[in-house]
């Protein structure tokens, strides 16, 4: 599990998140939601150990992630940021291969190639493996980046708005695959994902953390956190949580 203990994070000396204290379960899909500027991406960077805490700490499976060496960190947490850089002439297979860097440090073995093959299969990218990233659609490219995080084979995958700019088909496709990966069982991953699409959060999240103005508002199982009252108060607008064909949906009202 990830234990967040009285965490304060700053950027350029300015506090972005203050006094966050919660726990994220080891398996399942956790959604970070909240209005713009709430500190969701900053929290994700803190969970990845890339932003040293001004106060408090983050324990990932018992390890203080901010004090771990970069190589050790990368074996525990995979982080996919918003709008990753597009390297010219980089193929899908080579991109996913970068996910294995923490394991081989520049000398890939058969085991690493097997992991890349598996990521290609899990994210249905085998037919595109030799295509250059800049020749792919936004959805295919995003799937390739998520596959890279998958190939890293860490217990945790942290994803910052991986659905931005994706149409519903691609967005749903990625969420389905992440949801499957996070099911308890052998090889299950803890998936923490920043989402703006509340419908996707309602449909796929097991656990939800809500943030507002740099503070934790609520953290808990999805049905307890994503209620009509809580979401309307969080976003300061009328939102209703309802059911459609037995699935939770969020509607503006």
């Amino acid at each position: 599990m990830i234990q967040i203990e009285n965490l304060t994070l700053q950027r350029d000396g300015q506090p972005i998140l203050t006094g966050v204290e919660t726990t994220i379960p080891a398996t399942g899909l956790t959604a970070l939601i909240g209005p713009n500027g709430a500190g969701k991406s900053t929290l994700l960077h803190g969970l990845a150990g890339l932003l040293p805490p001004a106060a408090g700490r983050v324990l990932v499976n018992g390890i203080d992630i901010a004090s771990a060496r970069p190589a050790e960190r990368a074996l525990r947490v995979a982080l996919l940021t918003q709008n990753p850089l597009l390297v010219p002439r980089l193929s899908v297979r080579d991109l996913i291969g970068f996910g294995r860097w923490p394991h081989h440090r520049g000398r890939p073995r058969q085991e690493d190639r097997d992991h890349v093959d598996e990521a290609l299969r899990v994210f249905d990218l085998s037919a595109l493996e030799h295509r250059s990233l800049d020749s792919l659609s936004g959805g295919q490219r995003q799937r390739a980046y998520v596959a890279m995080a998958h190939a890293q084979a860490t217990p945790w995958m942290l994803l910052d708005e991986p659905l931005s700019a994706l149409d519903p088909r691609y967005a749903r496709d990625i969420m389905e695959r992440l949801h499957r990966l996070s099911r308890p069982g052998e090889g299950a991953r803890g998936v923490v994902i920043v989402l703006h699409d509340l419908g996707m959060a309602a449909r796929y999240a097991d656990w939800v953390v809500t943030l507002r103005d740099g503070r934790l508002v609520r953290s808990g199982p999805r049905p307890e956190v994503m209620t009509t009252e809580a979401l309307s108060a969080l976003f300061e607008t009328g939102l209703a949580v309802d059911e459609c064909r037995g699935r939770p949906v969020v509607l503006p009202v």
Binding site: H45, A48, L50, R69, P70, A71, E72, R73, A74, L75, V77, A78, L79, L80, T81, P84, L85, V87, P88, R89, L90, D94, F98, G99, W101, P102, R105, G106, R107, Q152
Partner: protein, 314 residues
């Protein structure tokens, strides 16, 4: 396929080398060949150094439009020459022993670059944007200072500074090359050793960090190598701001791969090819003694504009 492309680049360079050495060779052949060989070695070394350095600089700054010259190497070189002419006078400057001058210039350029890089990176982890901007500001400052000093030179001394401000391959001392070559080869070998980590760094700082690359340390090591390569090339021939941009862009376009173990040699070969082919056309075919650097800067500038426009419309 990629190795074949690299082979083609090497073959083109070999052809350029052969033409440069043997085209229109007349008696006394031994003497002329030795002169041409010295110039050729300088062309290869400068082209190779600047090409390799630019690929690495573009990777650590994650910007395909930059060259190391932008962070003030060229301005510092011109400032050094201006200071020397101002303090020693034209005759004193011309009488400077070339080897100590070359060594001091190399040390000054490397030292200044490492001071700048170390200072900025220590203060702001690995903020490459700040590093580039600080370098640009220092470059402007040094250019302004050199410009001010040039105004108080007499016209003949000013002409000497002007001549030194453009790269030239005439009068390179073979001993300088003997010193520069092992430095170049060692820096190139280290660059290739760093190549796999540079592949990851090309994804950007955050991505590289999350993949376990110690980005700050890698950036500092790479910038150190860049400083050495560019300092040696600049002290040997003089400043060529856009040569690196041409070499890195054309080299990458020629091999069409992203791996630095291929990009670095391709850019080095392309840089050398541009200089050797350009000098051959200038000297042997056109019989001109004009400075090749001016033409390289012109086409490099055009390529820069083309890349900027392509980005806007792309």
């Amino acid at each position: 396929m990629t190795l074949r492309r690299l082979g083609l680049l090497s073959a083109a360079l070999a052809l350029g080398v052969a033409l440069f050495l043997f085209w229109g060779l007349r008696a006394p052949q031994g003497f002329i060949l030795s002169l041409r060989s010295t110039k050729l070695a300088a062309l290869l070394l400068v082209g190779g150094s600047v090409g390799a350095a630019t690929v690495m600089f573009q990777t650590v700054t994650t910007n395909r439009l930059l060259t190391p010259g932008i962070v003030g190497f060229d301005s510092l070189f011109v400032l050094l020459q201006t200071t020397l002419v101002l303090t020693l006078g034209g005759a004193g400057y011309a009488g400077l022993p070339p080897i100590p001058k070359f060594l001091i210039e190399t040390a000054c350029l490397t030292g200044a670059a490492m001071l700048l890089f170390g200072w900025v990176l220590r203060r702001d982890a690995d903020d490459m944007t700040k590093l580039v901007l600080t370098g640009v500001i220092f470059g402007v400052l040094m250019r302004g200072l050199a410009g001010f000093m040039q105004r108080i030179l007499d016209p003949s001394e000013f002409a000497i500074v002007q001549q030194a401000s453009f790269a030239t391959f005439a009068g390179v001392d073979p001993l300088m090359l003997a010193i520069a070559l092992p430095v170049f080869l060692a820096a190139l070998a280290l660059s290739l050793w760093l190549a796999p980590a540079l592949d990851v760094a090309a994804l950007g700082r955050t991505a590289a960090l999350s993949l376990g690359v110690d980005h700050g340390r890698l950036a500092l090591a790479t910038l150190g190598l860049i400083s050495v390569l560019v300092a040696v090339a600049t002290a040997l021939a003089g400043p060529m701001t856009f040569l690196g941009l041409l070499a890195a862009s054309l080299g990458a376009a020629a091999i069409r791969r992203h791996e630095h173990r291929l990009l670095i040699p391709a850019a080095a070969l392309t840089g050398a090819l541009i200089l050797v082919a350009g000098q051959f056309v200038f000297e042997r075919l056109l019989g001109l003694q004009s400075t090749l650097a001016v033409i390289v800067e012109f086409f490099g500038g055009l390529l820069f504009l083309a890349l900027v426009l392509k980005r806007r419309t792309g």
